[in-house]
């Protein structure tokens, strides 16, 4: 067993060390891609939610204010997220 350990000593790597990628990745480009994915998911979710409100709220007066408030609040947060991308 000692011989095996001695033979492997030259190729020892720290298991906690993050392996190097063969290409370089820019953190801001990852954030940009993530931002667009999140934005697309949000748009789809908003369309689905708005569809449910206008289809099933039985012409309630609350449908437009509720969807508007959600979109307005979301846009504020999306702008906040966008400022973190750069």
């Amino acid at each position: 067993m000692n011989g095996t350990s001695a033979a492997g000593a030259g190729t020892y790597q720290n298991p906690l060390q993050v392996p190097q990628l063969p290409f370089s990745v820019d953190a801001s480009s990852i954030l940009t891609v993530l931002f667009f994915i999140i934005f697309v998911v949000w748009v789809v979710y908003t369309l689905v939610a708005a569809y449910h409100w206008f289809r099933y709220s039985h012409r309630s007066w609350l449908a437009i204010p509720a969807v508007t408030a959600y979109v307005f609040g979301s846009l504020i947060l999306i702008v906040y997220i966008a400022t973190g991308v750069s």
Binding site: A27, L31, L34, F35, I38, W42, Y45, V48, A49, H52, W53, R55, Y56, S57, H58, S60, L62, A66, Y70, G73, S74, L77, I78, Y80, I81, T83, G84, V85, S86
Partner: protein
């Protein structure tokens, strides 16, 4: 009405939802979740102050402030969206009481909706249950309707003024039973 058509002579008497307080109480976990980034930040600061070596290791990670900014924004957007989803489920889950029937509409989630109705003439028993301090103070509770010929028990929890709604339902049932049957009047 898109989901159910009112019969000739049928009119909506009442629309019933959960009490707004019940919905507000369901929002408390989301409210706490919204503050998680700041709670975690405080804990990390406290930990770093208590253990300078560990604090130095954390600082050496070198994550830029704008990246934290980004993820905090995403977290808040998720919490906000979850809250809106809960409000949508709250608002679209409703009992529509007409002078002929009760329509039970349950919005379980997006594209997951259950609509059932039962005639008031089949109602045998209406039970209300108000239990607990908040329920008693704010007048909300459970209302169950037992119908003839069906094992299923129609119920709604956390609705406002269950006793008043029970009286309205029983009043409508009584009206239906006192209306003279004219279908065979000419024979």
């Amino acid at each position: 009405m898109e989901e159910f058509e009112l019969e000739p002579g049928e009119e909506i008497v009442l629309t019933v939802r959960e009490h707004i307080l019940v919905f507000s109480l369901q929002l408390i976990p989301l409210f706490i979740l919204a503050f998680i980034p700041w709670i975690l930040g405080g804990l990390v600061s406290w930990f770093a102050a208590a253990n300078p070596a560990a604090g130095a290791s954390l600082m050496s990670l070198g994550i830029p402030a704008h990246v934290w900014h980004f993820f905090i924004g995403v977290w808040l957007l998720c919490v906000w969206t979850a809250a809106f989803g809960m409000f949508t489920r709250y608002y679209l889950t409703v009992w529509v009481i007409t002078n002929l029937r009760i329509v039970d509409i349950k919005q379980h989630g997006f594209f997951n909706r259950e609509v059932s109705s039962f005639m008031l003439l089949r109602v045998q028993d209406v039970t209300t249950d108000v239990s607990g301090l908040l329920a008693t103070l704010f007048h909300f509770g459970r209302l169950s309707v037992e119908t003839a010929g069906k094992d299923e028990d129609f119920h709604m929890t956390g609705i406002e003024r269950p006793a008043a709604i029970r009286d309205i339902i029983m009043g409508q049932v009584a009206k239906l039973h006192t209306v003279p049957d004219t279908t065979d009047g000419g024979l």
